[in-house]
Amino acid sequence: MKKQKKPGDNISLKTKKNEAPAIIDWINSQTNLMDSIRYLVENEIKANGVRNLQQHVPADRGFSFDAAGAHGHGYQEDPKHSPEYEDIIDEEEIDEDDIESWT
């Protein structure tokens, strides 16, 4: 079984190689990414309680690569904050390459 998370544990966030530009822009516009994501989770819980979203949303949601532009009201602000030192709780991704180099 999957290990259960406890308060204080890390969660990993990694963007997909083909992540929609609007999503990337949204991420880059946050001054505190983790708290913004927490806000989205809070709204979901308020509306629907705690549930496994994978059982309620389609895998392909038709969020096209230019969706934000198409609706005319995407993002107004320039992303002005580099996420490099943010409080992102980004569990380091160790890949095969990393391991290989030490063996």
């Binding site: 890390n10 490099e84 030192y85 943010e86 980004d90 380091e92 160790i94 390459d97 990393d98 391991i99 180099s101 030490w102 063996t103």
Partner: protein, 398 residues
């Protein structure tokens, strides 16, 4: 009684820095074989257990080292007995007994302290299983030598009797898995994370942040993809590996026999002449250097200046060689190790110039962190995912 310890073990030429179960112990890396206990009277175990590291006497029965009784670390140094140490440029760390004996002794001592704290009395026996990361100098590290060193630990069990006054505790130490990596390479992990696994912060980076105009929420995540040329200056060897994020770049592996120890030996006779002593030991000279209030301090430093410059120039040359090999594609040069403290006034300005010329940042680790960077890195490594993956792989049947 059964314990499971994680160990990050830096067996240096002068000092033994070892993290056991999350705590750092620092000892002179020396021991001596003896025939009998120095105690003639019974002593209260409480006082000895509390200061066990200062009174460390063990009897070793292990397939990896000569059986017998040993004084270890500070206690050996102060005993007046004939001391074993690692001879710079002569001994191969993976072949001699000293690293094995001293590692076993330190681990067994911590087990005894932990057992005593839990039971409020000395336990009769303790079993310890250990996961350990340790290192060899780059000049000595190869797949074969690393495997040989690992096996000497893993071919256990090792029986260690810890002498607490006249009482004995029998500690059986078994290494579940040991990984030996080149010295200095694990420091990439201790730059990134602290002991709790969070991005590292704190005054270790103060000068670096100021010199490079970095934002004040700077932390160790800065290093996660950086190409770092390490310069780990020891007593007897200096290591110049290159890491990239969590990767160790094998094609750039390089180490040389330079260090503060050579400069000290070179300066010693001139120092003795100046203070009108026919002969004074290296340890005395070292103490005078470390103590700015000593009446001979200024004289000691002046005799050291030229030999240190010589060593610093050699080190700069080797850094240049590495930069050329790497086509200057290095984000920062990171300098640490015991020898870096003594050389700082000479080496830092030379390096700053070189770094400006090649558009590279310079992180000269402050003195209070410089010595334990390797031990910290090995501790981080043994807790990390890479160690876990390597261990899992090794356990799989081929």
């Amino acid at each position: 009684m059964q314990y499971q310890f994680l160990v990050g073990n830096d067996n240096g030429n002068s000092e033994h820095d070892i993290f056991i179960d999350g705590r750092l112990f620092q000892q002179p890396n020396v021991n001596c074989a003896v025939d009998q206990l120095p105690w003639s009277e019974e002593q209260a175990p409480e006082t000895i257990v509390r200061n066990l590291q200062e009174n460390l006497i063990v009897t070793i029965d292990s397939p990896a080292a000569r059986a017998g009784m040993y004084y270890v670390g500070k206690f050996a140094l102060e005993s007046g007995e004939l001391i074993e140490n690692i001879q710079v440029g002569v001994d191969y760390k993976y072949e001699i007994d000293l690293p094995i004996v001293n590692t076993l002794a330190q681990i067994a001592a911590v087990a005894v302290q932990k057992g005593f704290a839990e039971e409020k009395k000395l336990p009769a026996s303790i079993d310890v299983t250990v996961d350990m990361a340790t290192a060899l100098p780059i000049t000595q590290h190869s797949d074969e030598s690393a495997a040989k060193f690992e096996k000497r630990f893993m071919n256990g069990p090792h029986h260690v009797t810890v002498h607490v006054g006249k009482q004995r505790v029998s500690v059986k130490v078994e290494f579940e898995f040991v990984k030996v990596i080149p010295e200095a390479t694990p420091v990439t992990f201790s730059l990134q994370k602290d002991q709790d696994g969070n991005w590292r912060k704190g005054d270790i980076f103060d000068q670096f942040i100021e010199a490079n105009n970095l934002p004040n929420n700077f932390n160790g995540s800065f290093f996660k993809n950086k190409r770092i040329l390490h310069t780990d200056i020891g007593d007897g060897s200096t290591e110049y590996p290159i890491t990239e994020g969590n990767k160790f770049l094998r094609q750039f592996v390089h180490g040389t026999n330079h260090g503060a120890g050579y400069a000290i030996e070179e300066a010693l006779s001139e120092f003795n002449r100046l203070i009108h002593l026919p002969d004074s030991p290296r340890q005395f000279f070292s103490d005078v250097i470390k103590n700015p209030n000593h009446k001979y301090h200024a004289r000691a430093m002046s005799t050291l200046k030229r030999p240190l410059e010589g060593q610093a120039r050699q080190i700069i040359n080797n850094i240049r060689k590495q930069l050329t090999k790497a086509r200057n594609e290095i984000d920062l040069i990171c300098v640490y190790g015991g020898g870096s403290i003594l050389m700082q006034p000479i080496l830092a300005p030379m390096l700053k110039e070189l770094c400006n010329e090649r558009e590279i940042q310079l992180l000269y680790i402050p003195a209070k962190y410089a010595v334990t960077m390797n031990a910290n890195g090995l501790d981080a490594f043994v807790r990390g995912k890479i160690y876990g993956a390597i261990k899992d792989r090794a356990k799989q049947p081929v």
